[in-house]
Amino acid sequence: MRSPSLIGLLLVTPALLLLAALFVYPLGFSLVSAFTVEGAGDGGDRFGLFNFVNAYELYATDIAFTVLIVGLSTALIGIFAVAIGGYLTLGEVGFAVALLRWLYRWPLFIPFIVAAQCMRTFLAKNGLMNNALSAAGLLEPLSAQSFLDWRGIVITFVWKQTPFVALLVAGAMASIDRSTIEAARNLGASRLRALIEIVVPQVHAILVVGLVLSFVTMMSVLSVPMMISGNTPTMMTVDMAFRINAYGDYGTANALGFISYLLTGAVAWIYLRRGVREGPP
């Protein structure tokens, strides 16, 4: 019995060391830095909440803004992913289903920074979108407005993350027992009702996984808010980059990072609690 467990331990050691060196150590380091004030008073370091006070005083609005933007984006992503997955599962026009299946995954392969760069010219006041709308006679050129603010960030996030969640959800929807859908349809349920009452409840665990992962990803994106709207209010990642680039102030940046951990941690906790209560999907 002893030697197999020793071998097991040996096998897992490299992975553990890698995890410790590349994840646990930097995480611990940034946590400590968040609570440290360098060279306070007598030149030595001091532990305290100074960085958090600073982060709160300067960036409370941005923290709230970040939560709202990412929260709204997550909700919209959920709706669109279910709509796409639902149409792929319940759609009856074969050609449209094939076209959608082919189209919807494209944004998956485009990096955030490229998406942001495209949106920057697409969503501008005299950008491609407004120009196309006014050329089509749908928009008066004078009433055109720029979407390069919080709306631009939400649009980019939703555009970029929806395919990811839709991919997971569509896969789950394809594997549910179709007889449940057919029974509902035979009893006269509309497709929308079948989607909401029969399909979504069966895939909701996967949907939540996709949304939690999207939430965490969006919390960490710097390029999109930076390129679309880096001004007040803005997202926490922009503030973190600014603290470091402008002041070399890692303390406050790490305090903001710690607040991000708390936010994503809370979301993950909600998910885990559900998972434990309901068992694995």
Binding site: K125, N126, N231
Partner: protein, 381 residues
């Protein structure tokens, strides 16, 4: 940890320079700044110097953009100095203004301006004062880059001449002026520093020191004024964002880097109709400096290299005509070496007199940070 890092950096830089040892003499030129600065030395200056100096090879090391690039040069020289090396392996360095001051204070540079002929052609104030440090003799500016207000003459018939005029104009034309705040690039930061120079009495002390944090207590009117001003402006996404929005006609005016403006116009990315105005009482700009370390391996060659780089002909051809920067030496010396068209283009909107009167420096480092912090605390809230 830091020492280990320095040793590592020195090792990497040493390895990069090693293949050159086979030649008779190698002149090591380290340049901070973006890719175009490195290309400038590799493609233009280096070959020109090698042509007139047979047996010499110019080895160019780019240390990266922004202050971090200058920091790398500082750390390497500082490490070699601390190790007591007799000859340091950087002969010529190109550094940012802030780091030029630090290098002089740490005693890492040689005073050379009196020993090169072109030293007498230098007149800019930035050649003597680097954000509060006296660098006279130790540096010659490679070029000067300046911020100014770009505007669309189709939308703005009579461009404002001062910050006060601009405030009035934005009240009459809400959201037609755009800038990128302080988190989206240096053109916005520069506009903000100019605002403080214009709206407080502290411009002189901010640029030359001495530092005193209590100065900021007198800024509340200026900051409140800026907060009100911000209600009437459009925020742009970055330095390039301001130019893009000007080009699409979404804003009529905004602060830009002059060299970027002219380069974009030359590339056809910006309407040729747009114009520049350097508004009073002034907006900041900054030079890059040619320096040579106190214990350069080839001090004489280094001086000759800088002499070539700051000669009127090279300044006219390379700095002004290729990159649209303002010359590091006095502009009057380069006029003979430029076509009348190119000369007229460079100084059409911003005249040498404007530049002399309204071209300011950035505040010294401590005031710079204090100003940014105050923007975040009072304007952005």
């Amino acid at each position: 940890m830091k020492k280990l890092f320095l040793a590592g950096a020195a090792l990497v830089a040493g390895a990069a320079m090693a293949p050159a040892m086979a030649q008779d003499v190698v002149l090591n030129v380290a340049t901070a700044g973006s890719e175009n600065m490195v290309d400038y030395v590799i493609d233009y200056l280096g070959p020109m110097f090698e042509e007139t100096h047979p047996g010499v090879r110019v080895n160019v090391v780019g240390t990266g953009p922004g202050d971090a690039g200058s920091q790398a040069i500082f750390e390497k020289l500082s490490a070699q100095s601390a190790a007591g090396a007799a000859a340091w392996d950087i002969d010529v360095a190109v550094v940012h203004q802030k780091m030029g001051g630090n290098l002089v204070r740490e005693g890492l540079l040689a005073s050379y301006r009196d020993q090169v002929e072109t030293g007498a052609l230098v007149t800019s104030a930035a050649a003597d004062n680097a954000l509060g440090t006296d660098v006279s003799g130790y540096v010659i500016p490679m070029f000067h880059s300046q911020t100014a207000i770009a505007y669309n003459p189709l939308l703005v018939a009579d461009a404002p001449a001062t910050y006060a005029d601009l405030v009035e104009w934005t009240t009459a034309h809400p959201r037609q002026f755009g800038y990128n705040g302080i988190k989206g690039g240096m053109s916005g930061v520069s506009f903000y520093m100019g605002w403080l120079y214009a709206m407080t009495d502290d411009a002189g002390q901010m640029m030359a020191g001495p530092y005193d944090a209590s100065v900021a207590e007198g800024w509340s009117d200026a900051l409140d004024g800026l907060k009100a001003f911000n209600e009437n402006v459009t925020f742009t996404p970055g330095n390039a964002g301001t130019l893009d929005m000007l080009n699409r006609g979404e804003i009529a005016m905004g602060p830009v880097w002059v060299d970027m403006f002219y380069t974009w116009q030359a590339d056809g990315r910006l309407s040729p109709d747009l114009k520049l105005k350097l508004i009073g009482p002034g907006m900041p700009g900054q030079p890059m400096y040619y320096v040579t370390p106190a214990k350069a391996t080839n001090p004489d060659l280094a001086r000759e290299f800088i002499e070539l780089a700051t000669s009127p002909q090279v300044q006219a051809e390379g700095i002004v005509q290729r990159f649209n920067w303002y010359p590091g030496i006095d502009a009057s010396h380069i006029e003979d070496f430029m076509s009348p068209d190119a000369w007229a283009k460079l100084f059409a909107d911003v005249t040498p007199e404007d530049l002399a009167a309204n071209g300011k420096t950035f505040p010294i480092a401590e005031f710079f940070d204090l100003a940014l912090e105050n923007y975040e605390r009072h304007v952005a809230q």
